[in-house]
Each structure stands twice: as structure tokens, then as C-alpha cells.
Point group: C2
Chain length 690, copies 2
């Protein structure tokens, strides 16, 4: 590994020379005028500077397994998605435990809390702080920046974050890491006693002023600094009375400037202009700014290494830039990156498993890989990453009889969404089973669909794919848990409800006093067409006519009539009022129930018995089954799913499903005792195969 | 950026001390007994060693934009897939131009040549060397290792690679990079004048012997070295007469040892045992070996950083290891990584665009992003990455009338493959439009299907997804170009041919003297069913009966009868002999043609007119259209594709298709002159919309 003999001696002499130069640089180099240094740094080779200083000093500064602290302010649906991509990029390169401090509004809190809880990344702790509580501290500042109040909250982090926290890296949601965050953390060691904030120079001429007539930016040193990436010495800021430093400055400037243009960044620059000793300028590669008129090229063309990219244009990824494609590719890497792969432990650091991970690992370890049903068992134990309300969503106003359509789908059923929106004008809660990359395709699909982007009452919950069996009931439970109305219509994605169904269901719920006086499940009779294009019946009369002429059938009439036989289609033809039907084996109608109904049994993955088990559960809990006389829903044709194909072709698959059924019945007996006997008896009766 | 004042002075003093220690270590450290050093190195902190030496000396050693040389020996279908993952991992972290030297058999050559040509990665040059030519140089060595001859070829690289090449990094196909390869290249600078080969210690006790009774490994220094990652000083090896060093040693050892167990690695270790001065031991993190009884944990638990992982167990990713999950995640990162994102230029290095890239960039730059058909234009210009014969494949033996079924599909039609295999016992050439991640799912799908894995005559060609429109004709052309029989049946994936079709077509081709005496396209009449499950007719008589009872229809009878009307189904009912039909507007039959037939027009992307244009081209080139009286193929139902949904719902989409048609007709007139007039006239006749 080491040079030997004469070359070694020569190498050592050369090395010594280099090092003496380096030491001299440390002792005598540098420029006391920070403004100029910072302004000049864009044109230097920032990587060289950084590399020498950071790598030589690296060992004492960033000990293995040191916990790194990161704070991010995040509000709303879109920023929550951004944070995920940012965190993925950090996790990809990190080798240290992390503590994320997330200042969030209620929306982001709910999304990110679910996401990180289900992500189960080892050696990462997440704490939440309520942005509402911080609002009064900064809402007095008039601000024109697109980040709104939230950008300004970075100013009050020293008081918002725990007192025990001495240092933190503060990141905007629109940055992407291309290197290990520990290298950034290591730069804290370069801070002098006076320095409390590390920043990269602003890579545009904004603060130089005169970009246009009457352009009057806030005061700054030279080009000023960008606040997308900040190193904060919280301890020193608190000691120095930070609030008493920035507030008076902000107030004074606001006497002549009507508002901040760039939120916290304007105020920080004004403070630094007054107190240049506070700032430690950071190498430009730690915040390569891709704004509309960026000068970042001077930085990255010289550097061997980009460390952090900052999409600080309101156009974000669509910014025009000679090298935009290059930067987009880096970003897209993490956008589509399978987050599951980041559930990596850190070698050589004390185990830091997230809550529940250890039990899960033990349960998985107890499975027998040679068991033919191993895949089924593994899939049931899987903790899926869940990103609820992936897209902006307007929760429905509280209405006592409102009903949400609940369904789940994967990529191959996306094309159903528009038609579904046309048929169901009410709220929907949909679980989508997607890879990270597919989630982005889905986003694009919604954005380019006029029908879908017009709907704010459809909530999309992404469950990230893992394993080879479709976890149908876990998906249903995610969608069900996120429904916000008192009632839910438990549907499937390949069904289109009658145009009138939403209104009719609400009226029926009210009339039948469902939920309050009556514990019932309202059955929506199901039909099917074999044609992709057909004229959807606008009334029960039209439907019956199509049925009579053979254009429609009752659902699965040819293949599995037992599934819906108890609905009693003959009676339904004539019915004018809701009628009660009795449970029978294999019954799996589509029903409307109160939101607090039993959850689906998550053991049923892949094809088969997933709805049947749920209806048994309803019956066991003594839900009446009431068929609605004017309700109907129609199944559209599609190719058999991969799971149904496997069910049909693989005896093992059918055996494993049988084992699931038996386990379900055992649990049923345990819960409901003798009254569950009828389900077991029904199961054991001979019948034709599915 | 730099510490200031007193802390700076203190820092400098501390630094100086560290550096003096380091220099002392360089001058006086090290152990003359390489075997012991190497054996001990597993237990040290290898990262520390490496980091100090490499990072301090890094600047003079690895100048920005230096071209790095990499050699890989690769043979067969599976190793070709491995190489792609390896190269992706290298490209992900690299910041230097690369020259890949690939020693390949004919299979790997054809796969990788196509792949790299279509990948168009800037600043990467690929050269191929014929493994057949090297075989005589090493085939005399008896070898028990699973890598066969090919592992041994690493021994003859000094003579196989160009004389101008002075240094090269040699990699096994089963390694994955987790860091910048330039850091590995930089280790060349540590070589003394005598050292010619850099290697990492073997991380198992194999070479210590006595693993089992009569286990007698080849001689090695201590634990010996692993040859998955090698730094080779080719210039010095040539000068030292390398062949005269390893050959006598190998011959001598083979007098007592019957064969090599670990191929080249055994021989290199024997040579090094004799000439320890030749080797430069490398830090263990550059080859973390995940073999069955690995001791690698001692390396990676200490290191802050893993640089290269080596899957050197025959079980590869299925190796049992306490941390297997961690390493698999790193590997899966690149397995599923979208290779398109690696088409990144290197900033600050001279532009090194691959052939054709500049013209492509210019053509793309000339498109107007605001044009409503921009997406169509962009998609036509896209250069798709193509991985031909993604899975092992046995080309069909040359037979004069053999016919290959040609089709294309994406993930949502995978479940058709088994049925297709049952219906078509002959060769198939299928293009699959997949993401990198989907390609792995596809691989898993084939491996777990008994039907598919039994078939060696089905060639799967992966075309990697890019853009939002399905490039249907480009896919067809890939599958068509890879068909290896004299005739092709141009089908679609949602059709199942008559069980007898393969035999019947070959007989018909022979009988009709297709291709030799007669320039004709044989039409296979198309039908459709609306039921997913139906009993497939085993004869024309059965088919006609199903047609009469309304269980089958002629294809697209309800929606677009024009597409197949000229086939003249009424005549077909009665026909006993092939009959000729005339072209008419919108005719798009499924045909059998000689392999050298015209290609599909790649401008047609998404839905519409893609087959119609091809049939026009056949007619324009005066192919007779002959309907076969006993042939038939049946379309199975599926949900409408995303593209057909867009066609139906978007007027812009239809306008853009219209523009494509017009462009096609202009080109047609240019090629065929007045005789093409009939197509244009037909186009302009009024008709019902598609």
C-alpha cells in the first residue's frame, strides 16, 4: 500500500513540501475582507480549497457514528414530496446516524409522520415541530417570496429547536445532495469562536442591485449569501441573543423596504452586512444554485465534485440552463430511487433500529425460506412505505351522510381514473401500489389530465411496492383509514358506479339512519360488461334492458356466480325498497358501511378471498346486509391480473391461499366462538373450484 | 472557509504534528514481509490507511479529466447482464473519462456492442477484444472454477491489450462500485518501480489450506490475494517478460496440482509467492469479498467507507451473510438504476460525445417545445438503449422454411407469455419495453415460470423506456432485426395463434415457395374473443362454429372493421387454397414475410397507423397479399392501453397522428412516385373515425 525504497523517500519529501505549503496557507492565508472573499470564491477552484482543508482535518472532525442534526421547514403536499427526495439523497450517501428536525404544518406533519414511521430507516430519528406555533414570531414580516411564511421560520430555529441542540444543518426542501452530508457537517470545525453561521455565496447578481430599473435588493456583502444550505451554531446564537440581532435589523430595513423579496435570506444578509464576523463562507459546491440567471457554472465547471444542488428557481426542474439536463438527471436519480433500499444499517455503529423494526426482523427471521408459502408469509409481514395524500387534496366539508369511494389500484389501472371521476362526483380515497419511479409517472399522468387535475376531493395514497404478491387488503386498509367522511363505499377500481350512485347513497344513508340507529352494510349490486366501449345505463330500467338483451351480465355470472348470488338479482329486478339478505359462503358484495367498520384482513395477499373474509367479519359483527333497489355498479373488462394467472396455474398458490383461509377461520373462532362455526361449516361444503 | 486567529494557529500546529507522523510512517513504516502485512491488514483500519495516503496525494495523481482504463472479461448472456450493472455503478460515481476494454465471446460482443452503441454515454469509449483469439493461450490450463476459460484470460491481458496501454484496472463482472473509480486509479501512484500488480488480500482462509481433509490450495503468501479487482502496470509487465513469469510457475505447480481451483487467482498467487516484490497490496475496502465463508466483516465494520463489493460466491446475491441485505441493497441500487440518467457529460472536461450524439442533440435542439406535437417529435428522435437477448438463448438451427414469431410488449402483458409459448412451439423474437427495474421483475418472472424457463428458443430483447409514448414500431424493428430464421410472423402480443399455425406456416412457405419464387406476404386471418377464459378452437371447423354461435368475432368487428375487411372472411370460410387479396385503405392484417421485409416506420409512436403504414410499404414494394385458408389467430380481451385512451380523449393526439400520416405519405410519394398516389387518394376518402 505504501511506496518503498527510493521512490518512497522522494514521495515523502514531495509530500512534506506540499504539507508545509498547506500549513502556511492555514496560518497566513485567507482574506480579512469576507465580502470580497466570498464574492471572489465563485471564480476559484472551490473543490481544491475544500478538499485540502476538509480531508486533512476530516478524521478528528467527523468521528464515525457521530449523530448529525438536520433541520428542514416543510409545509403542504408538494413540499412534502420534495422533502422525501431530499432525504433520499442524504440517506444514499450518509454514513452517520441522523436526527431530522422537521418544522411542519398539519398537512406535512401527517404525511411525513406516516411516511417515516413506515419507512423504518435505521439510524434516523425524526422529530416534528409545529409551524403554527412559530408563525406569530415571524408573521409580522411582510414577504413577497413564494415560500410564504415558512421560509422565514428558519430565522427562529435557535429558539424553536431543543436547547440541547448545539449545531444543526438547515436545508431548504429544494436541495439535492450529491455527497455525504458528514463532509458538510465537518465544516463546522472551521468556525472561529465568533462565527455562528456557515453559508455559500449567492450565485447570482441579485444583491448587487440594478437587475432592472428600481431593483432595490436588501443590503448584503457583495453578492450576499444563499440560505438554501446553512450551518447554524445554535448554542452560540442563543448565547449571543440572536433574536435581538435579527429583529432590529429587519425592522429597520423594513422602514425603507416594503417587504422581503427572498424571505429569511434577505434578513440574514442584512444581519451579516452589519456583522460580517458572524459568517463562515462555505465552498460554493455545497450550494450550487440553479436559479434562472445563475452564475453557478463558474463553480461547477471548475470543481471536480458537486456536493449539493439547489433548485432555487420557482420553475424548479423546468429551469432553463445550459446544463439543466445534467442536474435533472442527478435529481431524477433520487426521485425514482427505491426508498426501501435505504433501509440500510450503518456498519460499525451501535444498532439504531426504528420502533418495531426489531420485532419485524425477528418475525421474518423465524420464517422458513424453504416453505412453499414463504412468499405469502413474508408479504404479510412487510411494512410498506406509505405516502398519504401524495397530491394536493381538499378534504370534504363535514357532512353527516357523506360517503367516500374507497379503492386501490396499480399502474395498469390508471386509465380507469378519469372514467371513475366522471361517474363518482364525491370524495374518493384511493391507494396506489407503485414503485417510486411509477409514483412520478402517476404524478405526470394526473397533471396532464384535465379531468383529474380539476378534482381536489380525490385523495391518492401511495403504498410503495415490495414483494411479488399484490397486498390487496393492506392497500384497502390504507385507503379506508384515510377516508374522511362518516361512510365509505368499498369498491374496486375496475367498477364504474351508476352516475346517480353518490347522491342515491347519501339519501339512502339518511333514510335508513345507517350507523346511528341501524348497524348495516348497504349492498350495491354488481354487474359486468364484456365490451370496453358500451353505453353506460343511466337508470335501472336501462340496465335491466341491457341485461335482458345480453349486453350486460350479473358480475362473474360465467365464472363465479356464488360470489354475488345472495344479492338475489331476481328480487332486485322488482324491488322498490331496500331488502335484507342473508350471508352465504363466498359472498363478496360491494358495500357501503360506516367509516369505523372492521378493517380488511391483511393476511390475504395476491388473489382470492380478500373481500370474502371482510364480509364474513361484517356478518360476524352482526351487520345487516341490505340491498339497495336503485344502486348498481358495473365491472369493465380487463386482462386477468398476474395474481389471478398465478392462482389459476399454480397448485402451490392455491394451497397457500387455503392455508390463509384456515388461519383466518381459526382466528375467527377465537374471536367469535361458537357463532363463527357457520363460516367453517360453509367452507367445508363441497363446491366448484374458483 | 478557513479557521482564523488563534484557533487557526493551533489547528496548524496540530496539523503539522499529524503530518510529520504521517511522513515518518511513509519513510520508515511498512513491513518488509508482505505476506504478514497482507494477512494482518484485514484486522486493521483500512480506511484510515487509505484515506491518509490517497487523499493527501490525490491532487497530483488523478488530474481532472484524466482518461481511466478498465478491462473486463465477459462471456455469455448472464455475464453480459452483470457487466451492465457493474458499469452502471462505475458511471454513477465516476468523474473521469473512461475507456472500457472488453474481452468478449461472440454472444457478449453482440449484446454489449448494441447496448453501448445505443446507450450513448458521453466520455466513455468501448473497445472489444475477441476472447476466441486468446483461448489457445490459456486453454491448456486445467481449471475447475465456474468461470471456465474466461477467468484465466486475465493472465494474458498484457499481450492482448494495445501496447500503448500502460496501466489498466481489471475487474471481474461480479463487482459493484460504491465510490469513484478514480480513487482506485490513484493508487497506481503508490507503486514502486518493481511493483506491477495491485491486489486486495483474499478475505477467506482458502489459501491457508486445511479447510477440509485433503484441501490443498495453490501456494500463496498468507491468505493470498483476490483477483476480482486488479491494478495492472501493463508496461512493466511487458518489459519484465510477464509470460515467462507466470507460465513456468503454472506449469510447475500443475505437475503436483491437477488443476486450478480458482482460475487466474491461483496462478497469480503462485507467482506472487515467488516474487513478492511484484505486488502492491491494496486497502481491503477496494474488494470486499462476499464469498460463503468471508472474513470481510473485519474489513467493513471498521471502514467508514466501502469502495467495491465483490459477489465472489457462486451463489452471488443469494449468498448467506449476516449483512447480505445491506450489500444486496447497494447492488439492487444499480440493478434497477435508470441507465439513461448516466448519459451525463463531465463538467470541465473536453466534450467527448459518442458517435451520433451531436447530430441527435442538434435535431432535438431544433424542435419547438411549444409545438403541440413536441412529444411525438421528441419520441421519434429518441435513441433507446437496447439490450438484445437479455436472457440465455439458443438460436434455432438453420432451417430453410423456419419462421419466427415477432412481437413486442410491456410489463402489463407479461401474463400473455406463457399462453403464447403453449400456442407457438417455434422460435420467437420479442421486444420488451421496460424500465431497468422492470427488466429485473421480468427476469424473475421468467425464472419462476416453468413454461418460460423451459424455452430456449424465445429471445427477449429489452428496450429501455424513455418518454411517454409507446414507441411501437421501433420495438417491432428491434424484434424483427433479431429474428434469426428466413421468415417472420409479424404478430401482436395479445393474440394467440392456432396451435397448428407454426407447422402450417412452414409447410405453406415451402409449398408457395415464398421468398424465392414468390414475393408475397401470407395473411393470417384475425379473430377476437371478449371472454378471458374460453376454449380455444383446435381447428378451423371449431373456429367457424364459435363464430356462428357469437362466441368469437372477426377482429375489431365492432370497432374498426376496415382494418381487416380486405381479408374477406366470407371467402375464407369456404377457401381450401390460398387466395390473393387487394390492398385497401387502413388494411392491417397479420402477415408472414421473409426476414428481409421492409422495416416498420419508426415515426409512428403511441396508438394508430403503425401497422397500416407497414402494409402500405409492403404493397408499394409489390408484395402479393395471400390469405392462408387454414391459418388463424385470436385476440384476447384486455383493457384499453393508455395510448388508445389518449387517442380517444385528446384531439391534439389525433392531430399529431394526422401530421405523422401526412409526413409518411410525403415520403411515400418521394420513394415510389406516381404509384404511391393510390394511398393518398384512399386516405382522403371520407370514412368513419377510428
Amino acid at each position: 500500500m505504501l511506496p518503498r525504497g527510493r521512490p518512497r523517500a522522494l514521495g515523502a519529501v514531495a509530500l512534506l513540501l506540499v504539507l508545509l505549503l498547506l500549513v502556511g496557507f492555514f496560518l497566513f492565508g485567507g482574506d480579512p475582507e469576507y465580502g470580497l472573499r466570498a464574492a471572489a470564491s465563485i471564480d476559484e477552484d472551490p473543490h481544491r480549497n475544500h478538499n485540502l482543508s476538509a480531508s486533512v482535518l476530516q478524521l478528528p472532525l467527523s468521528p464515525k457514528c457521530e449523530l448529525l442534526q438536520v433541520a428542514i421547514v416543510c409545509a403542504g403536499y408538494n413540499s412534502s414530496r420534495e422533502v422525501v427526495t431530499l432525504v433520499k439523497s442524504v440517506l444514499f450517501y450518509r454514513k452517520n446516524p441522523l436526527h431530522l428536525h422537521l418544522v411542519t404544518d398539519a398537512v406535512a406533519r401527517s404525511i411525513l409522520d406516516t411516511l417515516f414511521r413506515t419507512w423504518m430507516v435505521p439510524a434516523m430519528v425524526v422529530s416534528f415541530y409545529d409551524a403554527e406555533e412559530l408563525k406569530p414570531l415571524i408573521s409580522w414580516i411582510p414577504n413577497k417570496h413564494y415560500s410564504g411564511f415558512y421560509g422565514l421560520m428558519k430565522l427562529v430555529l435557535p429558539s424553536a429547536l431543543p436547547l440541547s441542540l448545539a449545531r444543526v444543518i438547515v436545508l431548504d426542501t429544494d436541495v439535492t445532495f450529491a455527497s455525504d452530508i458528514a463532509e458538510l457537517w465537518a465544516l463546522f470545525a472551521h468556525f472561529s469562536d465568533e462565527q455562528v453561521i456557515g453559508l455559500v455565496e449567492n450565485q447570482s447578481n441579485w444583491y448587487l442591485g440594478n437587475l432592472w430599473k428600481n431593483h432595490r435588493p436588501w443590503p448584503a456583502l457583495g453578492r450576499g449569501f444563499n440560505t438554501g444550505v446553512i450551518l447554524l451554531r445554535l448554542d452560540q446564537l442563543r448565547q449571543a441573543g440572536w433574536e435581538q440581532m435579527w429583529k432590529p435589523t429587519a425592522k429597520r430595513e423594513l422602514l425603507t423596504l416594503s417587504a422581503t423579496s427572498l424571505a429569511d435570506q434577505d434578513i440574514l444578509n442584512a444581519v451579516i452586512k452589519e456583522h460580517p464576523e458572524l459568517v463562515q463562507p462555505l465552498p460554493c459546491v455545497w450550494n450550487v444554485q440553479l436559479s434562472d440567471h445563475t452564475l453557478a457554472e463558474r463553480c461547477y465547471l471548475e470543481a471536480a465534485d458537486l456536493k449539493v444542488i439547489h433548485w432555487n428557481s420557482p420553475k424548479k426542474l423546468r429551469v432553463k440552463n445550459k446544463h439543466a439536463e445534467f442536474f435533472r438527471n442527478l435529481y431524477l436519480t433520487f426521485l425514482g430511487y427505491d426508498g426501501r433500499l435505504l433501509r440500510r444499517e450503518l456498519f460499525g455503529c451501535p444498532s439504531q433500529l426504528p420502533p418495531g423494526a426489531e420485532q419485524l426482523q425477528q418475525a421474518l427471521a423465524q420464517l422458513d425460506e424453504e416453505d412453499p408459502c414463504f412468499e405469502f408469509q413474508q408479504q404479510q409481514l412487510t411494512m410498506y412505505r406509505v405516502h398519504i395524500t401524495f397530491l394536493p387534496h381538499q378534504p370534504p366539508p363535514p357532512r353527516p351522510h357523506d360517503v367516500t369511494l374507497v379503492a386501490q389500484l396499480s399502474m395498469d389501472r390508471l386509465q380507469m381514473l378519469e372514467a371513475l371521476c366522471r361517474h363518482w362526483p364525491g370524495p374518493m380515497s384511493l391507494a396506489l401500489y407503485l414503485t417510486d419511479a411509477e409514483a412520478q409517472q402517476f404524478l405526470h399522468f394526473v397533471e396532464t389530465s384535465a379531468v383529474l387535475s380539476a378534482r381536489q376531493d380525490v385523495a391518492y395514497h401511495v403504498v410503495y411496492r415490495e414483494g411479488s404478491l399484490y397486498p390487496i387488503n393492506q392497500l384497502r386498509n390504507v385507503a379506508l383509514a384515510q377516508a374522511l367522511t362518516p361512510y365509505v363505499f368499498l369498491s374496486d377500481i375496475d367498477f364504474l358506479p351508476a352516475y346517480s350512485l353518490y347522491d342515491y347513497l347519501r339519501a339512502s344513508i339518511e333514510q335508513l339512519e345507517l350507523g346511528s340507529r341501524r348497524k348495516a352494510a348497504l349492498v350495491v349490486p354488481a354487474f359486468e360488461t364484456l365490451h370496453y366501449r358500451f353505453s353506460f345505463p343511466t337508470s335501472k330500467a336501462e340496465l335491466l334492458a341491457l341485461l335482458d338483451e345480453g349486453s350486460l351480465y350479473t358480475f362473474r355470472y360465467h365464472e363465479w356466480p356464488r360470489g354475488h348470488m345472495p344479492t338475489d338479482y331476481a328480487r332486485w329486478r322488482q324491488a322498490r325498497a331496500p331488502y335484507r339478505v342473508q350471508w352465504a359462503a363466498d359472498y363478496e358484495p360491494y358495500v357501503v358501511v360506516p367509516h369505523d367498520c372492521p378493517r380488511y384482513d391483511p393476511r390475504f395477499v395476491g388473489f382470492g378471498w380478500n373481500k370474502v373474509a371482510h364480509i364474513i367479519e361484517l356478518d360476524a359483527q352482526e351487520y345487516e346486509l341490505l340491498v339497495l333497489p336503485e344502486a348498481f355498479t358495473i365491472h369493465l373488462p380487463h386482462a386477468p391480473s398476474l395474481d389471478i394467472s398465478r392462482f389459476r396455474s399454480s397448485p402451490t398458490y392455491r394451497d397457500c391461499l387455503q392455508a390463509l383461509k384456515e388461519g383466518f377461520h381459526q382466528d375467527l373462532s377465537r374471536h367469535y366462538g361458537a357463532s363463527a362455526l357457520k363460516y367453517l361449516t360453509a367452507l367445508q361444503q363441497p363446491r366448484s373450484p374458483a
